[in-house]
């Protein structure tokens, strides 16, 4: 099982190369029955933000959104639901993630491969986070040095 809560699996999978995700999804047996619980769609989501001066809500803008909610049943009759909402306009990407979500949630055969890909995604996300923190670390302003030479130089 993944060390991440289920709600973060899609985020981790979003970080891995598309080919890795596609390869994993195609590795599951074709004999599994995959049926949609809801129509897979691509469209837009609206981002609602709380502005931080008076606390008003407003719409900042939209973002692409692909959704998939499916049920997968194995040859042995094991069944699980999986879903994915991802900031993307490719439905097939959401379908692959939803399949991974179902496999890992119910520990269907092959769940270890999903967990491993999520681990890869966690590491890639951590790299991105380190890059952003490096930007901050390199540009932190040291005001104490300015104090040493007096306020006039501040």
């Amino acid at each position: 099982m993944s060390r991440l809560p289920r709600e973060q699996w899609v985020s981790a999978l979003s970080a891995v190369p598309e080919q890795s995700l596609a390869r994993l999804a195609e590795s599951f047996p074709r004999s599994w029955k995959v049926t949609p619980k809801a129509l897979p769609q691509s469209g837009l989501g609206m981002l609602k933000l709380r502005e931080t001066t008076l606390g008003d809500a407003f719409y900042l803008g939209e973002f692409p959104l692909a959704t998939c909610w499916l049920r997968v049943t194995t040859e042995q009759g094991e069944s699980a639901e999986g879903c994915a909402l991802v900031m993307d306009d490719r439905v097939e990407r959401a379908e692959r993630m939803a399949l991974c979500d179902a496999v890992l949630a119910a520990q269907l055969p092959g769940w270890e491969k999903v967990a491993a890909l999520i681990e890869e995604g966690i590491e890639l996300r951590a790299q991105r986070s380190r890059e952003r923190k490096a930007i901050l670390a390199r540009t932190r302003v040291d005001f104490s040095l300015l104090d040493d030479v007096g306020d006039e130089d501040a």
Partner: protein, 364 residues
């Protein structure tokens, strides 16, 4: 007088499209077509501008729009906004909180010591505007070496994931009004679904400015800065970073991260005011935010938010305090459309103008 069918217009239009394509590709045998990733990374700020003015955070299509529009930011934003009108709305996020931003830049001009510290991130603020001639002949090897060496010997362990807001300290000190939790529960105005009919809510104003054209926002905010207004802002905090976008997981119901958007956010502190009910005077505030890294836009929007609040409270005393003036003139796509429509044939109306002028002249 009647409309006149013109022969050959279709061919000329097709020819014009072909000329555009020719000019895009005429560079020569060594030329390579622009890749979407290249536009997103090497024209990062232009790309952010199109994301924000197009009103859709779709990095890949924003790059395509820039390529297709050959770098015209208004035209690219128009293409992106046209795209959004063709796809359905599937969901709306819960109220997102910008305190959760994964920061890449954070400064304050109000205090030097802010909780968590100031980090300049990527900025040209302290650059000399001198030509870097070496970029004219930059080799691929030199180009790649810069990012390759970047992470060496950097300790990032002490950098937190998120940072508190500067305004929180001012609020604790009683210099700002407390945040009203109820205000965030009101449904915002959706400018993509409803026309602006004045007076409009603040949420409509913020949404309009968030996808407004940078130059228009700057010009009207600048009029306020120069004297046609009295906001006199101090930037309490300007932050750039990535905001996680959350939607409920359909099975568990818990918030799940579907992606993240780059965001620039600015909070300005303005002149203090009494509340008119005998309370203590408090600083007034303005807010600006937009997709992408665009500080001029976020600051201009924050100034205009404050000036519009002044205008609503006291009556507009200058253009930047008039919601109708500001909000109906900052949309780049609308204003560009009106401007460029003048290039379209006006043969009939102009014929009419000439007829009337001749008739008037004949009477004299």
């Amino acid at each position: 007088m009647a409309y006149v069918a013109i022969k050959g217009g279709g061919q000329a239009i097709e020819g014009s499209k072909a000329v555009l394509e020719y000019l895009r590709t005429r560079q020569g045998a060594r030329a390579r077509p622009l890749q979407a990733d290249t536009i997103e990374n090497q024209l990062r700020l232009l790309h952010g501008r199109v994301l924000s003015e197009g009103g859709v955070y779709h990095p890949r299509l924003a790059s395509l729009a820039i390529k297709q529009a050959q770098g015209d930011s208004l035209e690219a934003s128009f293409i992106l906004r046209a795209y959004r009108s063709t796809v359905p709305r599937l969901a709306e996020t819960e109220l997102l909180d910008s305190r959760k931003m994964r920061i890449t830049r954070r400064i304050s001009s109000a205090f030097k010591d802010i909780p968590g510290g100031q980090m300049l991130g990527a900025t040209t603020d302290y650059h000399l505007r001198l030509m870097r001639m070496e970029l004219l002949n930059e080799s691929p090897e030199q180009f790649r070496a810069i990012s390759g060496e970047w992470f060496k010997n950097l300790n990032v362990d002490e950098i937190p994931d998120t940072f508190p807001k500067v305004l929180e300290q001012l609020r604790k000190d009683g210099l700002l009004a407390p945040l009203d939790e109820q205000r965030g529960q009101q449904s915002p105005f959706d400018i993509t679904r409803e026309p602006l009919i004045f007076p409009v809510s603040r949420s409509a104003a913020l949404a309009t400015m968030a996808r407004g054209e940078q130059g228009s926002l700057l010009a009207i905010a600048y009029s306020n800065m120069r004297g046609y207004g009295d906001v006199h802002p101090t930037v309490a905090e300007l932050r750039v970073g990535y905001l996680p976008v959350l939607l409920p997981h359909p099975i568990t119901g818990q918030p799940m991260e579907v992606g993240e958007v780059e965001l620039t956010e600015c909070e300005v502190v303005a002149m203090y005011e009494a509340d008119g009910e005998g309370g203590k005077p408090l600083f007034t505030l303005g807010y600006g935010a937009c997709f992408g890294h665009n500080e001029v836009k976020a600051i201009s929007m924050a100034i205009l938010d404050r000036s519009l609040q002044n205008g609503i409270q006291h009556g507009p005393r200058n253009p930047s305090e008039d919601p109708e003036f500001v909000l109906l003139h900052v949309d780049g796509i609308e204003s560009m459309g009106f401007c460029t429509h003048y290039k379209m044939p006006h043969y009939v109306t102009f014929q009419s103008d000439m007829d009337r002028l001749r008739a008037t002249q004949a009477k004299q």
